[in-house]
Symmetry: C2
Subunit: 144 residues, 2 copies
DNA sequence: CCTATAATCTATAAAATCTATAGACTAAAA
DNA sequence: TTTTAGTCTATAGATTTTATAGATTATAGG
């Protein structure tokens, strides 16, 4: 399961993608519209900013806005940033690899093979899923 | 990520599958060989027993053993039992469905669509992955 | 029947992680 | 120079995960 943090991040980014190139958006605005605790959202946006997904502007008329084009931000990157590994086992993770404590012969582990398969399918779908694609799918149903 | 509990369960089950129809196996034996805290393992095996995946025998010569054939126990069932939902979002879970707090129009949620895709691919792989299949894959490399 | 064995049950403790909030600080605009 | 709005540090509260202790019950074998 995704953490709330990660879900908040995705919702906030979709919200900002809907407003791409329309100037900065207040944290407050995002928080209210998406029902995210403001202080929690602050930390999330800051992290997305440090990852060069968002930019921000301080002071009056300030706020957050997408740094990249919506088609250049995919769910993999967001999820890794917020929740860490995508894989279901550490010994199978590409970005957060750790050997399993339990198993001695990783290369011949039947369990591991299964989760390599799951990982690959998951990565495939998530890397194709960009903010642009998400917007596209819900076109005609845009709220707000 | 799978919880330790779930990983322990899978390892214990593979261990028992290797000893299918060879009589009961002590908790102690499984715990030592698979490096699982015994008391923790007790609780896990009990849960697997209640789910009719394992059977047990008390007293001298007792222990745990697979109730079903190794080809009739897949990872989906084990993971659901140990960790709950497989899906990454509650609004996408088949067995543990809950509506998302954040979104108002579930049927047109672009985010949801993505995770339905991930769920389907994951379920497909995991439901095909049985204890028998795991054993088969690591044949010739059997430890112990 | 008695004893040793091994699973079962109840309760709880320790650790880790996730979620949320408070308040002081800094930069920018008007 | 005042107001606005993001930044930073610190911490608190809640929940979940992981692990352990100890008493109880069932079974086999003598």
């Amino acid at each position: 399961m995704l953490s709330k943090k990660c879900k908040y991040a995705i919702h906030a980014l979709v919200y900002l993608a809907e407003r791409y190139q329309q100037g900065p958006v207040h944290i407050q605005d995002i928080a209210e519209q998406q029902h995210i605790p403001k202080k929690f959202l602050e930390a999330i946006l800051l992290e997305l900013r440090n990852a060069k997904i968002l930019h921000s502007k301080k002071g009056k008329g300030g706020g957050y806005y997408l740094y990249r084009k919506p088609e250049d931000v995919n769910l993999i990157e967001i999820m890794r940033l917020m929740d860490g590994a995508i894989a279901m086992l550490p010994c199978v993770s590409l970005n957060y690899y750790e050997p399993c404590e339990e198993c001695r012969d990783e290369r011949n582990c039947g369990i591991r093979d299964v989760f390599i398969g799951v990982r690959d399918e998951t990565l495939k779908i998530l890397s194709e899923s960009t903010l642009a694609q998400i917007l596209e799918r819900q076109k005609g149903t845009r709220r707000v």
